[in-house]
């Protein structure tokens, strides 16, 4: 079974971390990730850009494009896509095609990406 592990934190606080704190957090996580990678159990890993770079597409008669991250608390995170796009506009186009007549999709660029070792 594949498991998706999603990272949550207070963004303003992470921004206020010292370089040492940031390095310590990442080192601890990379230790775990490295262990998983050597066992062939690590898929793609990515760090998202700040929520300020996000846009949201919401299903409607004409899909609505909203500035900012997905902010509702009554809906739940149910899945994700990782796509390669040359621009934000292209990514939004993909999301418009995906959303259909239901739900909302947040589009957010990755700040860094590790492709993993190809889970089967």
């Amino acid at each position: 079974m594949f498991y998706c592990i999603l990272c949550y934190n207070l963004e303003s606080e992470v921004e206020a971390w010292t370089r040492e704190k940031e390095a310590a957090v990442m080192a601890q996580r990379e230790l775990v990730a490295h262990e998983l990678a050597t066992q062939g159990r690590l898929g793609p890993v990515g760090r998202l850009m700040p929520t300020t770079t996000a846009m949201t597409i919401r299903a409607s008669r004409e899909p609505l494009v909203l500035d900012g991250p997905f902010a509702e608390t009554k809906e739940q995170l149910l899945g994700f896509y990782l796509v390669d796009c040359t621009s934000l506009e292209q990514a939004l186009e993909v999301a418009r095609g995906l959303v259909g007549d239901t739900g909302a999709l947040e589009v957010r660029p990755l700040a860094s990406f590790y492709p993993g070792i190809g889970l089967q």
């Binding site: 207070l10 303003s12 606080e13 206020a16 704190k21 770079t53 900012g68 934000l88």
Partner: protein, 412 residues
């Protein structure tokens, strides 16, 4: 887990919204700051024992408000406290407070706090200093160091600025759309000035001013999180990120400024550029161009060029043309002339300069650009006259040295 570094970051991150909410409750900056200070002290005692709260800002507001109320009651039992609707009664639980924070009232709180730092009768540097003290929570010592003045002088400036702020009348009701837009643009200008205080630094003390740039970016991101659809705040954030991305390449070993064309682009920070480029694109999608967005778009063209010769100057020319329409100014036309010289040659650019001679008669860069264009056109004598004028108008030894280098190259 709950180490001191974590608590420090949590307090720094929560400070703007906590002080802003406390200011709304008490309508007094000193009381709000003291309340936050007291809550921070209690956090340092409580968090290591009880673990971090889910929402540090809400915790600090709740504890700060209660301690300030106790203090006010203790000081004078007969003092009239603000109306009940201003101060929620003590039964309000932390969770109820969190709900209040989620409301849109809270974005206006932070905006108000930033806005009252921008007192129009205060010099810009004092506005910035007081914002760094109150909103960012930098110590007077840190601010004094960044502004290259003594701690005592800076303390005095901040005290004076705070007095002016406490005497000014700021509406505590939620602002209407027009007032909110005005506040946003005033605050954006202050953040940009703050950034430039750090960015324009060169020489031996340049490194101590870097925190000013980082703080400006933090405030700009904070503002954008609160107002995610404001395209000019996207533009401002992008502009700061794209300029700051070049920080490591901007100064040489002697802390002298390295011009864009001569910078080692491998030193540019790709993470900051990536974020800046996305924000520029996002702002463009809004279809409401503004000065910050356009300046960011110009910075984006430079950021996309792997080498100076790859720069899309015709794109820069087009963006300056829009900027000229939105915000006509001789300095913008001068900048556009530089782009035009790359696209259509020095003669066309020189033609644009002529009408600027009068308004920019005291402007160093005008004569620097003019000299460079004349030099390119093979008119060394006229170039020399322009360069000499530029040297006379240089504000720093470095600016003068740069022009002298050009002058030296004129002599065969």
């Amino acid at each position: 887990m709950t180490d001191v570094a974590w608590i420090g970051a949590a307090l720094t991150a929560a400070r703007p919204q906590a002080v802003a909410a406390l200011l709304r409750y008490f309508r007094d900056l000193d009381v709000a700051e003291e309340a936050f200070q007291e809550a921070s002290l209690r956090a340092l005692k409580s968090w290591p024992l009880n673990g971090p709260p889910r929402d540090p800002a809400a915790w600090l507001i709740f504890v700060g408000r209660n301690s300030a109320l106790d203090e006010l009651r203790r000081r004078n039992k007969h003092d009239v406290l603000p109306e009940d609707d201003v101060i929620p009664d003590a039964e309000h639980s932390e969770s109820a407070l969190v709900e209040r924070l989620d409301s849109s009232a809270y974005q206006d709180d932070v905006l108000r706090l930033l806005f009252i730092c921008c007192q129009p009768d205060l010099p810009a540097t004092q506005q910035i200093a007081v914002a760094l003290r109150i909103v960012s929570g930098l110590s007077v010592q840190e601010i004094a160091r960044a502004f290259l003045v003594t701690e005592a002088a800076m303390a005095q400036r901040i005290t004076r600025a705070k007095r002016a702020m406490s005497e000014s009348a700021v509406a505590f009701e939620a602002p209407g759309p027009v007032e909110r837009a005005e506040r946003l643009s005033t605050v954006a200008a202050m953040i940009y000035l703050l950034f430039n205080e750090g960015y324009s630094a060169s020489g031996g003390d340049a490194h101590v001013r870097v925190p000013l740039c980082e703080e400006a970016i933090r405030l700009s991101r904070l503002l954008l999180r609160l107002f995610p659809a404001e395209s000019e705040i996207m533009g401002l954030t992008a502009l700061l990120l794209l300029q700051h991305a070049r920080a490591a390449a901007r100064l040489d070993a002697n802390a002298n400024i390295v011009l864009l064309d001569d910078q080692d682009r491998s030193l540019w920070n790709r993470h900051l550029i990536g974020e800046g480029l996305v924000l520029v694109e996002k702002a463009q999608l809004s279809g409401e161009p503004g000065p910050y967005q356009l300046q960011a778009a110009i910075a984006a063209v430079h950021a996309r060029a792997a080498r100076p010769q790859d720069t899309d100057w015709s794109q820069i020319d087009r963006i300056y043309a829009i900027l000229e329409l939105l915000q006509p100014s001789p300095v913008i036309t001068l900048n556009r002339a530089v782009a035009v010289s790359k696209v259509r040659g020095p003669q066309a650019a020189l033609g644009m300069l002529e009408p600027l001679e009068e308004p920019l008669a005291g402007y160093f860069h005008y004569f620097g650009v003019k000299g460079a264009l004349l030099k390119e056109l093979g008119r060394p004598d006229e170039a020399r006259v322009a360069f000499n004028k530029a040297i006379g108008l240089a504000r720093t030894a470095q600016e003068a040295a740069h022009i002298r280098m050009n002058l030296d190259r004129l002599t065969p």
